[in-house]
Symmetry: C2
Subunit: 243 residues, 2 copies
DNA sequence: TAAATAGTGTCTATGAGACATTATGTA
DNA sequence: TACATAATGTCTCATAGACACTATTTA
């Protein structure tokens, strides 16, 4: 894009370009931030302090920063998502998995004005989740068990967004390394199995799960980590995700 | 959303609401429209008549229509995609498969101004594709073989968009009914198999493909259609997709 | 009758699911 | 020693891939 050589007449065109003043939508970035705590899959929600939906719980998010001129176009969309993540959780984007989910654009989804929301989901490792409370801004924030959301009134179309995020992570869980972003840096086979059980909501057969785990070990996706996990019974071997 | 009962103070708030005048991005909808013609997977591109990238080929698309006031919020995002599809091809959205792909939001992807592009892909049945030339507006439009795109200069980040659309349809081909939107209303097993071969770029074993096809038949996804397909050798049974 | 292609059948390897069994630690 | 759970093994079934073979039409 920026490396392309522009023809002279295009350069002249751009110098004289004035954006026509058609109305534009506001563009928000909203985040579905997951973690596992107390053996439950949880989502981070913030309590709205302002109308509309004042007092309701909502997904953390904010507006994409756009500059005033062509010379200052603002931040990348991905950067906006990472910035919101950091603002709401205090966790830098480099330590958290972040993936674009879907863009919600019903004309009346916000009663104030036209807002198009580009949504992302994030996976926070459970050892990092406790840090989140401190990082949040003035707004009240809390981790909600996803099954407890039915009783809750969520702002805007945020219930649909959470639902789609759940569908996405459940769909990808078995065919991608997603689960490794929901366990600590080092983990045992049973720990990873519990994550699968919690996310899918289905019990995972220990023997069959171990078989799949060993295949990943053979492929070099996982490696043994030093030490053993001490439990109340037989200790388990500890592994880590490579890279 | 609109069915929710608003508290009185929220109603008052909304009546007095004035959108703060932060800069907003333009939001475009760009389409990757696929069909199969001459036994090749093809994408519809239009030649740009204006700067920037004047003379280059680009994906069809346009800006989302946003109203001036909260009372008139504009068109749904999905509706914008369907409208662009119809403007560019003359085909109503009801006859064409349309699915959101991804939202591209690098800050400098358009040299004029900040533009966020919500992209969709569409699948046009080959019997409808010939109608497209007539439907297009003044811009020159043509179906390009996807393998021939390497030599072509595409505008903006449209090459990345096409690439992602290809990855998406190849990934979904085997696990969703996508392929039925790339054959005529009625089709034979070998015809559907050719679609799979063309999209994936890999030869499809006739026996194994037929086995999977028969499973879909058992599941009631497909049903026999009247008649036989006349060829230069043994005629084939004709089927249709249900609903 | 030959050529072409629709349609069938078979063998093998792989992975999933269900479930029994053994091994090794702690209380 | 009893208990918990990590770790291993086994049986069956469904599906994918490779490929040989039969059937039916046109030229």
């Amino acid at each position: 894009m920026s490396t392309r050589k522009k023809p002279d007449d295009e350069v002249a065109y751009l110098e004289n370009y004035r954006a026509k003043d058609y109305p534009r939508p506001s563009v928000a970035v909203d985040l579905v931030i997951f973690t596992i705590a107390d053996a439950q899959l949880r989502v981070l929600l913030v309590k709205r302090k302002e109308h509309p939906f004042k007092g309701s719980w909502a997904l953390p998010g904010g507006f994409v920063r756009v500059g005033e001129t062509a010379a200052d176009p603002g931040e990348d969309l991905e950067a906006a998502a990472a910035r919101e993540l950091e603002e709401e959780t205090g966790l830098s984007g480099s330590r958290v998995y972040l993936e674009q989910l879907y863009t919600f654009g019903k004309a009346n989804r916000d009663p104030r004005m036209r807002v198009i929301s580009v949504t992302y989901f994030a996976l926070v490792r459970p050892d990092l989740a406790p840090l989140v409370q401190a990082g949040g801004d003035a707004a009240q924030a809390a981790w909600f068990h996803v099954d407890g959301l039915k009783k809750l009134e969520l702002a805007f179309d945020h219930r649909d967004i959470v639902q789609m995020a759940l569908t996405r992570i459940r769909g990808k869980l078995d065919d991608s390394p997603l689960a490794f972003d929901l366990v600590p840096m080092t983990f045992t086979i049973p720990e990873l199995r519990h994550v699968h059980a919690i996310v899918t909501g289905l019990p995972q057969d220990p023997g069959n799960f171990r078989r799949r785990f060993n295949r990943m070990l053979d492929e070099g996706l996982i490696e043994k980590a030093p030490g053993k996990r001490i439990t109340t019974s037989k200790p388990a071997t500890v592994y880590r995700f490579r890279r």
